[in-house]
Amino acid sequence: MGTITIDPITRIEGHLKIEAVVDNGVVKETKSSGMLFRGFELILKGRDPRDAQVITQRICGVCPQSHGIAAALNLDSAFGIADKIPENGRIIRNLIQGAHHIQDHILHFYHLTALDYVDVTKVADYKGGDSALNSIKRFIERGELAPFFPRYEGDYRLSAELNQQAVAHYVKALEIRRKGQEMVAMFGGKIPHSVGVVPGGVTEVPTVDKIASFLWRLNELKDFIDNVYIPDVLAVAEVYKDYFEIGAGCKNLLSYGAYELDGKEPDLTRRKRLFKQGVVSDDLRLEELDIGKITEAVKYSWYANSTMGLHPAQGETEPEDDKKDAYSWIKSPRYGGKVYEVGPLARIAVTYASGNSIVKELVDSVLKRFKASPKVLFSVLGRHAARALATKFIADSMESWLLELKIGEPIYTEYTIPEEANGMGLTEAARGALGHWIEIKDKKIANYQCVVPTTWNASPKDDEGNPGPIEQAIIGTRIKDENNPFEIVRIVRSFDPCIACAVHLIAPKCRDLCKFKVL
């Protein structure tokens, strides 16, 4: 019996600590702890509501665009213009968000995850002419092994050739991501922290050359997704098939839906979107999303218990860093009191369950290849495969959106900031369901709450003692070698956590805040 502590988990976004109690080689208990906070909701209070779109993007430099979109939707809703965004504005927002997601998913598989499965040292034996691989070969020969080392040892199963090819793709993926970000910047101004999505629509007027510029890059991205990214995910899956049975998690999935296909419906839970809204469990039966069922528990989080069980729209938090039994700055969002996972797996599963024929075909073809039933989706490899398929689904949809843009038509609608209002913005960040809520009083932000995907996924136990999704995925796993706990980190990374996003804090009474423990 022993405890494995991994602090910090590397190759994710942000600061996450995992403690796993192992008994006879199997994980009995786990704690997932988010360690660093900055207090965004407190910083937003009292400001001009329009500034929310600018400031909330700074919650994260990897996924700022998603916060920008959620904030704009939130403000649209508060300003009463949710159903008045011009078509060009709706489409350009989708193009910005789509390009951002594509490069974010590719980032996750190649630059965060791949080295869990790919042995970069095999490039030392490379004998071909690829300049990127030869450059890495020289790197290894010089003994310059950081940032690839230190690493866990003992479970790299790909052939030398597949390893080399994967590393070459890792390098190529950097260029592909750069092009994806260029697409975001084309309409968003710059990225990270774009300026192009605002309440009322967007700021960038579409022109023919912008459209052409966007399109050739989109075609390159599509080619990479179909011919490199998806085949690589499947090639890894072939050799690591046991990971279809590892990391199942809570098997409840939730999606807010994303990518407006119609701008006329003001209720975001009913609006027609590319990825559907809803919840499913392992029976893959679609249930409608009821936003009223979301609450946040704080029993094991460093906040006062008096704020337990509140819906985010009434969110209130009082930090208590010396609270007994608490172990995280992340709260525990729950749906109908139950534990739900969010992310590309949730988007794909919900859209699959809604009967979307394209997603059905994509998922079924992967299941057929592995001669597996849908239950393997609830696993480490299920998440990676779903992420790759979600990337393809977005990319394949974007060309027709791009060509729907109408030169010369409006991109923005004016509004008056109300004295008092409430708003809600729901979208899907790359990592899952993202919600922003605002309360405006005297034309200023009185309250602003963000419930972010990784808050759901990396949450600690709730007041019923139910562990969060990542915790549940780790509990019950057999660890082959406690000095090289591949299983734990592979499970954590399959969720693509973003801890800068997950941790947030409000202290409406502005009391002295505790010293935070920094790694």
């Binding site: 407190l42 329009r50 400031i55 260029e182 084309m186 309409f187 710059k190 990225i191 605002v198």
Partner: protein
């Protein structure tokens, strides 16, 4: 993090403070600054550590500013007294106001102002902080030169300035007490950042 800044900063040749947060405190330090954030220079000063600090502010900072500065230090040594401005920023990147090189400057000079987002014309009325922001965004642009904030029709948010964000917010309200057209002269008198 505080301990690392002190222990590593003490013996370093120089510290490069990357981003407005590291240079001046930035958004986490915005009112009410829940975590007591400060810029690196402020931290080292408070501990009596004299290691030179080069500030590369920006939210985010442009990779060229960072790589260019590090390369310059490695090749030519630490910046000399005339190389940095009063805020510790390399003049080669931060030497001119956005306003001086903005493609929409002619509109400003002619008094042609955009009244709402998406319109042509100077963005001053819509909150542009270009007149007080030192940065080479108009010429370098962003993401491999495909675009930049004002290029996409959005007002500059002043993100390389010590005033970011509290003294440049609200982001969509115009700078006040500005004397047209001599804006540059007015802002030569530096404002104190609290």
């Amino acid at each position: 993090m505080l301990e690392r800044v002190e222990s590593l900063g003490k013996d370093a040749l120089a510290v490069v403070a990357l981003g407005t947060c590291a240079a001046f405190g930035g958004i986490p330090a915005a009112n009410p600054n829940p975590t007591g954030c400060k810029g690196v220079r402020a931290v080292l000063d408070s501990k009596g550590i004299a290691t030179p600090v080069v500030n590369i502010p920006g939210c985010p900072p442009h990779p060229d500013w960072f790589v260019g500065t590090v390369a310059s230090i490695l090749l030519f040594g630490l910046p000399k007294p005339g190389d940095l401005d009063d805020e510790g920023r390399p003049l080669v990147f931060y030497g001119s106001l956005i306003h001086e090189n903005c493609p929409r400057r002619a509109s400003f000079d002619e008094g042609k102002f955009a009244k709402k987002l998406g319109e042509a014309g100077c963005l001053y009325e819509l909150g542009c902080k270009g007149p007080i922001t030192y940065s080479d965004c108009p010429t370098r642009m962003w993401n491999n030169g495909v675009n930049w904030c004002i290029g996409s029709g959005a007002p500059c948010s002043g993100c390389t300035q010590p005033e970011f964000p509290d003294l440049v917010a609200p982001f969509y309200e115009k700078l006040t007490d500005v004397n047209l057209p001599t804006i540059g002269e007015y802002w030569m008198e530096k404002k104190e950042v609290k």
